[in-house]
Amino acid sequence: MSAGITKEHLEQTLRDKLSADHVEVIDTSGGCGQSYDVVIVSSVFEGKTVLQKHRLVNDAVKTEIAQLHAFSQKTYTPAQWVELSNK
């Protein structure tokens, strides 16, 4: 798919599949849609290790990641997110 993955599509997919409270997708590709940084806040991350959280995200956007050049993620539980926002 030469058109690439849109920011909106990625955001919606992450929101839907991970029941995320908050999703931030930053397009770092300079317009070609092949490189994204994402921040995801969801209660499904509760009690999981970083590796487990990242695997959840990777599974949710498996087909999308396969088409991207770069995909970087930060995952937080709602409590961690509040703590981070207050810093």
Binding site: V50, L51, R55, N58, T63, A66, A70, F71, Q73
Partner: protein, 166 residues
């Protein structure tokens, strides 16, 4: 033949944990949704027995294995470079890190993603265990978890040991 029995067929004689994990998540997907992108990827990108055996041996025999784009001297991707720099910052002896350049081997490049059930490169294994990619390494580096793991596994010297040497 149903998708599920196809998967079972593909997994015959493969007791490996990652594949078992894969199968269970795949079946869950079939139950949850009709469209399963995993189905095609399992059948198209299934890694060869010989590559799987090679990778098993590689991650078991070496304390630290890094699958990367390029070499530690000349990394060809910013994420791979970052992981090399993290190892350097932690004081890991890079000559003891087994690095494999996926850009030199297309089968390895695709196969390692399947092997680790991880969609991107770089990938790090420590003492046979999959640790993660660049994000996780950076995360663990910042939190101190990486130092703790490296110390526990005897891959870096503790402060006391360093003092003794001096």
């Amino acid at each position: 033949m149903s998708l599920r029995s196809l998967t079972r067929l593909a997994n015959l004689g493969r007791p490996f944990t990652f594949n078992n994990l894969l199968t269970s998540s795949f079946i869950k997907n079939v139950n949850n949704e009709i469209r399963s992108p995993l189905a095609s990827s399992i059948l198209c990108r299934y890694i060869s027995d010989s590559l799987k055996k090679t990778l098993d041996e590689t991650v078991q025999k070496n304390d630290v294995v890094l699958f990367m784009k390029g070499t530690p001297e000349i990394p060809q991707c910013g994420f791979s470079r970052a992981v090399v720099q993290i190892f350097q910052a932690q004081g890991v002896d890079l000559s003891k890190v087994k690095t494999l350049n996926v850009l030199e081997d297309h089968e390895l490049r695709e196969g390692v993603k399947e092997y680790s059930q991880w969609p991107t490169v770089p990938q790090v294994y420590i003492k046979g265990e999959f640790i993660g990619g660049c994000d996780i390494m950076l995360n663990m580096h910042q939190s101190g978890d990486l130092e703790e793991l490296l110390l526990k596994q005897g891959l870096v010297a503790s402060d006391e040991e360093l003092e003794k040497e001096e």
